[in-house]
Symmetry: C2
Subunit: 376 residues, 2 copies
């Protein structure tokens, strides 16, 4: 994997870069649609590449490990072959889902024992086997096994957890560096900064993570319920410590405003279920602001969903039609809204990139945060 920076903003820490993987180029800042079980919900792979113009998607190790399972994924030749997505893929480590989805889990130094949310079967994730699992899934970028602390979190717990995450990282690196990809292309491992919302811990963790000198670095444990200002404060501090010449990935973030504000702090990569999950609930992000399409006010609005955004879905279907589909619980409602919201997210980061290259990012960002977050 290679990372190069084309431009940096003079009034902020924003940068426009390029990540080269064996499955193609990623222009940063980039948003990665979440394809939990090997499918970005309600979106065809062709729509992802041609309409949304996604450059990389995310898969969840926890879900893929449970279903279809490693045997199927291995026989398929990895996730790219299995789901017919030929562009880059990133997998998370499964840690987050183990904590959020699995009813009972025991976290020990050796690893985490958990029960499947599907059938209650018991499994163990360790730093070592999570590397092996991600080798089998075959994503281009894979994540270290960490503990994602909840918010709020006691200082003592956050510190102990962070220290364990650091020890786990060492084990992840040892396993990753002594194994090879199974399918003939290169994988790279990103470590994850933790430390909850404690500046002292975040500083320690960022320094520790930087010392591993991996090809890219991630910030985890944010966007878990803390105020946005706290997330920005932690992100700013951590970005100041993580190396400039490597991509920085802010995990699980976020709203359009969160993304624009943290691009300004030096973040290059994002993922979030918000555009697809909210789409399924009838919430649309548009170039003009946020729409709750269920509202009566859209019942007779025969204007396209978002003419400025462009694209088949957003200019062909009207607000009134989409509202009807949502009210009638039609599949097509989720399909239209998901493609639309993802197209908007990808448009937003592409616009940000262009503004950074043009040198007009900062003023644009400030006005855009207002524009895209207002309620229509």
């Amino acid at each position: 994997m290679k990372f190069s920076i084309q431009a940096t903003d003079s009034q902020s820490k924003a940068r426009a870069g390029e990540i080269t993987t064996d499955h193609g180029l990623i222009q940063t800042p980039i948003f990665m649609p979440v394809g939990t079980a090997g499918s970005v919900k309600a979106v065809h792979q062709r729509e992802l590449s041609d309409d949304v113009q996604a450059q990389i998607i995310l898969g969840n190790t926890y879900h893929l490990f449970l279903r279809p399972g490693l045997d199927v994924l291995h026989k398929a030749g990895g996730l790219h072959q299995f789901n017919s997505w030929g562009h880059p893929i990133l997998t998370d480590s499964g840690g987050y889902q183990v904590y959020s989805l699995s009813g009972t889990r025991k976290i020990k130094e050796a690893g985490v024992t958990f029960k499947s949310h599907i059938d209650g079967s018991t499994h163990v994730f360790t730093p070592e086997n999570v590397m092996d699992i991600q080798r089998t899934i075959g994503a281009d970028i894979i994540m270290a096994f960490d503990e994602c602390t909840p918010y709020p979190c006691e200082f003592s717990y956050a510190r102990a957890s962070m220290d364990m995450t650091h020890r786990w990282l060492k084990r992840c690196c040892e396993r990753f560096d002594t194994t090879e990809g199974l399918y003939g292309y290169t994988q790279t491992l990103f470590p994850i900064v933790q430390g909850s919302v404690f500046p002292e811990l975040r500083k320690q963790s960022a320094e520790k993570i930087a010392s591993f000198e991996r090809e890219g670095n991630a910030i985890g444990g944010l966007s878990v319920g803390e105020p946005a200002e706290m997330m920005y404060e932690m992100t700013e501090m951590v970005c100041g410590i993580l190396p400039e010449d490597k991509p920085r990935y802010l995990m699980g973030v976020g709203t359009p405003a969160n993304i624009l504000e943290t691009i300004a702090l030096g973040i290059d990569m994002f993922d979030c279920v918000m555009p697809t999950r909210n789409a399924r609930n009838g919430m649309l992000f548009t170039t003009q602001g946020i729409i709750n399409i269920k509202n009566e006010k859209w019942k007779n609005d025969f204007s396209p969903i978002d003419e400025t955004l462009g694209g088949y879905v957003s200019t062909t279907y009207t607000k009134a039609y989409l509202r009807h589909l949502v009210v009638s619980k039609e599949y097509l409602a989720a399909q239209i809204a998901s493609v639309h919201n993802l197209t908007f997210y990808l448009w937003l980061v592409k616009q940000a990139r262009e503004k950074i290259l043009e040198g007009t990012f900062y003023a644009w960002k400030n006005s855009m945060v207002e524009q895209v977050m207002r309620r229509l």
Copy 2:
């Protein structure tokens, strides 16, 4: 509306024709995907035209009347404008749904009083207002208001019902012929032959319906649970009476075998929820036979869904991936299976048309019925 016949089969009653509407050409025999509430479930309009190659879709008057309602459809400029489907549309009369979906309904000579399955509100359908409603929806082909008798059905009930359907047809025609389309293009009205499975009644009804000399004729009240042989017998008799120079539409039919067998009897148009409904349950119709994709045997089958059929969906995604999506209850499962099944249905009738034009229909039909109905 114009109908012309290009070729008739020498060994059967099959014919290849063309229906010209103000929204474009329909090559027969044709299958019409069902878009109940203005959306063919889980399929984008672009996929319907480009992938499935649908030439005409069906809308349900009952559903559209209840949601989004006539006010919205009228303001939109009709269903074509509302759902952005620029090709021909046919609407049923709402009769079938009133009998099958509405818990309580009272059938009287004047019309049918029924309760909405959505909110329990009370409504009345009469031959006259069903014409007005279909004027407002604005389909190219609209259907007469009839009573669809269940199977089995007493002879006396079937006869009385058929007589009422005939009287209703007279009222439909009077209303239709003294009103005009609302949106500047022509609509045409098809009457419906009833008579349950009684040859005597079917003969009477077909003669009566033919005497109205409308531009096309439909056969209703079949495919409601009777044995296939009985359906074929009724269809054959009715086709022998309905005029040859007008399209014949067999409502609600059917399996690939039903379609091929009744094309051979002189049917030109079909609609059925089977390809889309069964898709959502994991049942695939392919050029090689029928697949229950949930079966364990497809778990590691990384071959395309149907290479012979062609098209993005059927050649890009594998059986193993689709099985995984169905098992995981992903939206994309219904999307892939629906586009695939509809593409197969449209391919089947297109193949039938080509074989009729080539003069090889009969032998092809007999081998194809075996091939496409076998369980893989």
